[in-house]
């Protein structure tokens, strides 16, 4: 990047707001998907919305691609830098701007940490519902970009259901306000499209969130089963009984073993563990919990424990939330997948994953949001064994294909990013992808905002609208679409 541009960026954000030293730039070369790395030309850390706008204006004028970055905990390479591009880190934009309890709204800057929102409103008896397992480090801006979920999304919905307004810096540096504190504003729901767009449509600089009143009681039940089939059947029956738990999480033997070793949650050693959390008015929770207990017993649960105190409840969750990180104790390396299947397909798909895992000779641990059918198979391998990484990647892809075949999705919460752009065509046909690109062309005709993510084949926006014509190389089978 031309030194003149570096100087100009420095003039906007100040010496402390700009990183251009090669050694320091390396800190930003990847996000949570660590096998892909690109060193950017510069990292800027705006301290205000005005800084942010000015930085984007420079990028636009010079046609320099930029990538927004929250905490870099993304698991699909969404915040992977572009070579020769700028990373815009939002960590200094971390103020909570407004807390409006009577209307249950909070307005924040994008760099605010997810858990900080809940801590801020907790004294009033409220919480911010979307709770990714990374909530103590990831940012609201990153959550908005990924439409992040969490264990409690089964009942409370995802980030998209809790964002009411967005102030954006568009890729040309213009600022727009979408939505706001009031609901149903006239016009297109562009806010709905921005949420989950993975930084490809612009950068959120102010976010209006809905916070939710804490329920009267919360109860967590732990049930041990002989098989994931039994546990899967219990999940379906609970939902079919008309009960909507706040969360239903499942862990298999391998993930229980790892979590136990890491946090000693006191889980029973079993082949499938369910955590079922109910919340709401006390009388309703008590009655529904009786029914859940019955259903679990009926499906073969051999041990059932109801957490008796808030402390016990926290321990039960600690094991679940630590499960990914704990895998390090079981295998040196792992790939986390993030497929979704219809809930009823759970037992069958889990069986087929086991078959794939046996055929590949690699272990797969399962810990996931069972109520939503959002699987997180962890493919365990050892990078130091030649060829094993490749086998693991193939296995991970086969699992995703299985999910799509079962009527599901290639990603439930981690996003497409760089990791899965090549899988997009397993889920969507060309006209579907082209139609999504119309949105991209409206927001970012120059493709400067996080280019080359999400879509396998970005389209030229000036291009005449028309059907996709395969490239001669594709037709000849020489090169694939992605």
């Amino acid at each position: 990047m031309h030194p003149r541009i570096i100087d100009e960026l420095r003039a906007i954000v100040g010496t402390h707001g700009l990183i251009a030293e090669p050694e320091q730039l390396r800190t930003y070369e990847c996000d949570g998907l660590t096998n892909l790395r690109v060193v950017p030309s510069a990292v800027v850390l705006p301290a205000s919305g005005e800084h942010l706008q000015a930085v984007v204006r420079v990028c636009h004028r010079e046609r320099i691609p930029f990538v927004a970055r929250g905490s870099g905990t993304g698991l699909s390479g969404g915040a992977l830098p572009v070579e020769g591009g700028v990373v815009i880190s939002l960590s200094r934009l971390n103020r909570i701007l407004e807390v409006d309890i009577p209307n249950a709204r909070v307005v924040v800057e994008p760099g605010v940490i997810n858990l900080d929102v809940t801590e801020r409103v907790a004294p009033f008896g409220y919480f911010y519902a979307p709770d990714p397992s990374s909530q103590s480090v990831c940012t609201i801006g990153g959550n908005v970009a990924e439409n992040s979920g969490g264990a409690h999304c089964l009942k409370y919905g995802f980030t998209a259901n809790h964002v009411l307004g967005l102030k954006l810096v568009l890729p040309d540096g213009e600022i727009v306000q979408l939505g706001g504190k009031t609901l149903d504003p006239p016009g297109y729901d562009l806010m709905g499209v921005f949420v989950g767009s993975e930084g490809t449509l612009g950068i959120a600089t102010e976010i209006t969130l809905r916070v939710v009143k804490r329920p009267e009681v919360v109860q967590t039940l732990l049930a041990a089963f002989h098989s994931t089939d039994e546990a899967g059947a219990a999940v379906s029956e609970i939902i079919a009984a008309g009960i909507l738990p706040a969360a239903i999480e499942m862990m298999d033997a391998l993930s229980i073993q790892a979590a136990e070793a890491a946090v000693h949650a006191g889980y029973p050693q079993c082949d499938a563990l369910l955590l079922v959390e109910l919340d709401g008015p006390a009388a309703e929770v008590a009655l529904s919990m009786e029914r859940v207990t019955e259903i679990c017993r009926g499906c073969g649960a051999w041990e059932i424990r109801l957490a008796q105190s808030e402390a016990e409840r926290m321990v039960v969750w600690k094991g679940r939330k630590a499960a990914f990180a704990a895998m390090g104790r079981v295998a040196p390396d792992y790939i986390v997948q993030d497929g979704v299947i219809p809930r009823t397909a759970l037992p069958r798909v889990l069986r087929e994953i086991r078959q794939l895992s046996e055929a590949a000779g690699l272990r797969v641990a399962n810990v996931f949001h069972a109520g939503d059918g959002n699987l997180h198979p962890l493919v365990l391998y050892d990078r130091s064994v030649p060829g094993q990484e490749h086998i693991a990647e193939t296995l991970a892809f086969d699992i995703i294909k299985l999910c799509v075949q079962a009527g599901g999705s290639i990603t439930g919460e981690h996003g497409v990013g760089r990791e899965k752009q090549k899988y997009m065509s397993t889920m969507y046909a060309e006209p579907d992808l082209d139609t999504m690109q119309l949105v991209r062309c409206a927001f970012d005709p120059q493709h400067l905002a996080n280019p080359d993510k999400v879509f396998p084949r970005p389209r030229l926006c000036a291009e005449k609208q028309g059907r996709y014509e395969p490239h001669p190389l594709e037709q000849a089978g020489v090169a694939e679409l992605f």
Binding site: Y188, D189, P281, T344, G408, T411, T435, C441, A442
Partner: protein, 422 residues
């Protein structure tokens, strides 16, 4: 370019079959703007083909669902073709064990609910006129009711859509599972777009169980200012109502209606808690069938404005005071049916059009100060001709225009009806 009516009808007959094309009549006019032809495609591919033909011929298209009233929006600049979804009326799949359903756009809400009820489920939404309103129509108008308090609105319930674009592209977006973040969320973009970006041919929804028991209560007082604090206390409590609605009218006592769903024994405890939150406020049970809906606001609406108003929950009282203050000197009668979320229907009736216009412009300014919005969805045509029904002053308008430009560069779909003349 305008093709002659004969050639056009012949082309359309070739596409969808002779019996599904007919010349439009006076009854097909939209907001007084006459149409040429009504066409009823039989599947999504035919919808796409009709749109492409219209685009190539330089014609405008108004999608029509339940069809009787296409009142919402600015009057169309032109209506050449009415594309009716009447024949797209099937529930394609009810995956009841997964609690999702896929349904064609022309299926009525009531028909869908009947099919879902066979397995004890529902689309947790109570839009206007369910017997005639279609799935495509409620999506296009983003119509919801009291249940939004618990289940959200269409944007929260729709998982996937299939849409036909004016260039003949048929595209699917979203999916059939509750959780899915692959690609842009076009189902949300289509929701509330008034059929100006594409024609929805099919949609998939997440479902909820039908409640085993429903209890409703009506709280009444002589003034809204006595009920509004109760509404805010309920929102700030651990009560979990599925609907909370404030009903205020000129010259009548206001009411605050609450709806609870769930296991009967658990509901009693909630009702007791409610009583503690509303000391000294008269309360009586309300039969669930008697739950007030907005439909009656349209009765005798010749000289009435019916608006969708949106303010913050804490501003509902202020909204009522403002309506009262503005209406009195203009001799308007008014009625407001507002959800606790702050979104409501406002009816203003007058003896002359001038008063309606004056009231709307003052109210819009006031609501704007409360950071809310006021869109006039029904208005006498003489009034409609003199106002922008949406009244939106949006910084996002240029961006919205760019989105329209991408999806429908030749302004085929519902031209002029949407925000900013889109």
């Amino acid at each position: 370019m305008m093709v002659d009516a004969e050639t056009l009808q012949a082309d359309l007959r070739a596409l969808v079959g002779a019996e599904h094309v007919r010349p439009a009549t006076a009854a097909d006019a939209i907001d007084g703007v006459p149409a040429q032809v009504v066409v009823e495609p039989g599947d999504a591919a035919e919808v796409a083909a009709v749109l492409r033909l219209a685009r190539d011929a330089g014609l405008s298209v108004a999608p029509r669902g339940g069809g009787s009233k296409l009142g919402w929006g600015n009057p169309p600049r032109r209506v050449d073709l009415i594309l009716s979804t009447r024949r797209l009326d099937r529930v394609v799949e009810h995956a009841w064990a997964d609690m999702t359903a896929t349904v064609q756009a022309g299926c009525t809400v009531a028909q869908l609910q009947r099919v879902l009820a066979e397995h004890g489920q529902r689309l947790a939404l109570d839009p206007l006129w369910p017997a005639t309103a279609t799935i495509g129509g409620i999506l296009a108008t983003n119509d919801s009711g009291a249940l939004r308090a618990r289940f959200g609105t269409l944007r929260d319930l729709v998982l996937g859509v299939t849409i036909a674009l004016p260039d003949g592209t048929l595209a699917r977006s979203g999916g059939k599972v509750v959780k899915n973040v692959a690609g842009y969320d076009l189902p949300k973009l289509m929701t509330g777009a008034l059929g100006t970006l594409g024609v929805i041919t099919e949609a998939t929804f997440r479902l909820y169980p039908l409640p085993s028991h429903v209890s409703c209560v009506r709280l009444s007082a002589s003034e809204v200012s006595a009920l509004h604090p109760v509404l805010l206390r309920v929102l700030d409590s651990t009560l979990a109502p599925s609907g909370v609605q404030l009903h205020a009218r000129q010259g009548a006592a206001p009411a605050l209606d609450l709806r609870f769903e769930g296991i009967a024994a658990a509901l009693d405890a909630q009702l007791e808690q409610l009583a503690r939150l509303a000391p000294g406020i008269a309360s009586q049970p309300l039969a669930p069938e008697a739950w007030p809906t907005a439909e009656p606001l349209w009765d005798d609406a010749d000289l009435a404005l019916i608006c969708k108003a949106s303010v913050l929950p804490a501003q509902l009282d202020a909204l009522v005071q403002t309506i009262r203050r503005v209406s009195a000197p203009l001799r308007l009668s008014w009625e407001l049916l507002a959800q606790a979320a702050g979104v409501g229907w406002l009816r203003l009736a007058a003896t002359n059009e001038q008063a309606l216009l004056a009231a709307l412009s003052i109210l819009r300014a006031e609501v704007g100060r409360l950071h809310g919005s006021l869109a006039a969805l029904h208005a006498p045509s003489a009034v409609k001709a003199r106002l922008d029904v949406w009244g939106a002053d949006e910084s996002a308008l240029p961006l919205m225009r760019r989105v329209k430009e991408q999806f429908d560069p030749q302004r085929v779909l519902n031209p002029g009806r949407f925000v900013g003349g889109i």
